[in-house]
Symmetry: C2
Subunit: 342 residues, 2 copies
DNA sequence: GTGAAAGCGCTAACAT
DNA sequence: ATGTTAGCGCTTTCAC
């Protein structure tokens, strides 16, 4: 028989069995908490396990049982505050249920995703979680996964016309809350800076903004809409553009805090005071938002909770595959601080 | 023979072998690029692989070869900008070399770490990467890992007296650069806000600060040192405390940007102007630092590069275990913007 | 309640 | 160059 390669030999169930004076299958039963083991045998086996410092081999276990207790976690952008927070919540909850996450970060290069899926499939992950925005591009690999019935949950990632398991935040409602509040404060010329228009959340927030306008009998003015890419830089330039267009407005709803902060800088340079000349509400509730000057009013999202629920939904799907797909929508909360002038 | 459980049967090497008319071991040879295969056979096998859509089973492969191409990635705090960036770099580089990361985030609850290590060991990860600060607490599990000769690399995590493989940034030098620059600008009463004193990086930065003072013939004044916990809040309170102590100072070196931003808020409330009344240099170069008002001068750290090098070092250790431990120290770079008045 | 036998899908040593 | 044999460490029938 071949000896172990470069590594020292590890303790196996056989060793435990020998010491406990039982067959190694009985050891397996004890470890997996099977009912049909005599209490006395169980005790002896546990003792042997402890004595030898036996650690089960998860790889061998996976091969035999076709379960890895491993989840594929695919994200597009680790630096993104939303996704990071979601992942923290996800990992925590998964761990609690005995699962580990295998990480795949495409870092915005969504084209790498199929390869990640392929590789992660080779590792026989029990399911996938996608923390990434929807893409208009190629979704064939996702559809294939869906068709194969691989357990799969997403956040912020939708496929038109496909029933999916997704946990997300109600973006329309969040944007509605922000805009409606600005209107209540007396503003009727409200600009907005959006994220990349391909994102579903961006579209939803824009609709929320429009709907609030509409409900108040205000008309939607396309020239009051500028587009950013989530970065402070883009918020800065978007605000400059808005200002240059020469269309008057007294309030801004920015689709995230970082762009709001960039916009505030442009405003400062233009000599406009916040909130006196310009009321602002951002989105996300990043930690820094409390420390702008004045402190940024914003729409706070329960991000870790999204991750937690996504993990639970995924594990439920793995352990009970017949559970039908459903969407969970969490609610965001408007937090007024200094910039909205109230 | 037992049939597959709940899952549809997957294509195996045997199926490929049958179709290609060879033994399944030959298929293994082809897949692993072994030399001794006839070109024609190789071609036929590849064709069969493609035709059947065969995907190797990484689990089975791991069991047989005792290599998983999997790395345990343990971090203490996913929200921390430094660690997040390091992890991005690490994951990218690991992936390039064919490794996946299994995630373990203790979220500041360092006591969970031994359990993570235990579990990840059961999965037979090929090595560990620790992205977490040094702790004074219990390091026995880390020492045990070291003794067992498990490949292991850290960043910001040291064990006194143990030769370790670590990739880090030269904190002493970074702090020195910042402080020396403030001195050059004519300041001789320079306060500093530190992070948690148990962190090695905090100690090093404090020494760098002191050394710059010393080199300039300036005396170190303990009452000019305040302690924070990295959060903007803590920077805010630290600055308030500094101000209340009544010891005059005209410049601040903050050990990270977030605390610097908090401090700026306290300054604003106290009616002190930056940089006229108070010059400030932060640390990290977080994206937001460009968007404070005025823009924050800071010490930029090549974080992703740390992760990249750590991955390479770990993989090198795995594939060539005889490589002796060594430390790599990267250099940070002072970036002057608005707050240092120059 | 417990042991024996079979097999998960693959790699690697040994023949030929 | 290719096939044969023997595992890797575990779970899961199936007997008894």
């Amino acid at each position: 028989m071949t000896q172990r390669k470069n590594q020292r030999r590890r303790v196996t169930q056989r060793d435990v069995a020998r010491l406990a004076g039982v067959s190694y299958q009985t050891v397996s039963r004890v470890i997996n908490d099977h009912p049909d083991v005599a209490p006395e045998t169980r005790r002896r086996v546990w003792e042997a396990i402890k004595q030898l410092g036996y650690q089960p081999n998860a790889i061998a276990r996976s091969l035999a049982s076709d379960r890895t207790y491993t989840l594929g976690l695919i994200t597009s952008d680790f630096s993104d505050y939303f996704f990071t927070q979601v992942i923290i919540g996800f990992e925590k909850e998964a761990r609690k249920a005995g699962y580990f996450c295998m990480l795949g970060s495409t870092e915005r290069n969504l084209a790498d995703e199929p390869e990640y899926i392929r590789l992660l499939s080779q590792y026989h992950v029990d399911g996938f979680f996608f923390a990434r925005p929807s893409a208009e591009e190629d979704n064939r690999h996702l559809i294939a996964l869906l068709r194969e019935g691989i357990p799969l949950v997403t956040t912020a990632y939708y496929l038109p016309g496909e029933p999916m398991r997704v946990v997300d935040i109600d973006n329309l409602d969040g944007a509605y809350q922000a805009t409606a509040h600005l209107i209540e404060l007396g503003h009727n010329r409200i600009a907005t800076i959006t994220g990349p228009p391909t994102w579903k959340s961006v579209q939803d927030r824009l609709v929320g903004y429009q709907r609030a306008l509409q409900m108040a009998g205000l008309s939607f003015e396309p020239r009051l809409v500028a587009e950013g890419d989530w970065s402070p830089q883009s918020g800065y330039w978007a605000m400059r553009e808005l200002l240059e267009r020469g269309v008057a407005f007294t309030a801004l709803f920015a689709q995230n805090d970082r762009m709001a902060i960039g916009a505030m800088r442009a405003l400062r340079e233009a000599g406009r005071r916040v909130p006196d000349d310009m009321a602002i509400i951002g989105y996300d509730g990043i930690p820094m938002s409390e420390f702008t000057s004045p402190p940024l009013s914003t729409v706070v999202q329960p991000m870790q909770e999204v991750g937690r629920l996504a993990a639970r939904m995924l594990i439920e799907t793995i352990e009970e595959p017949s559970t039908p797909p459903r969407e969970i929508l969490l609610r965001a909360r408007l937090v007024c601080r200094g910039t909205c002038g109230h």
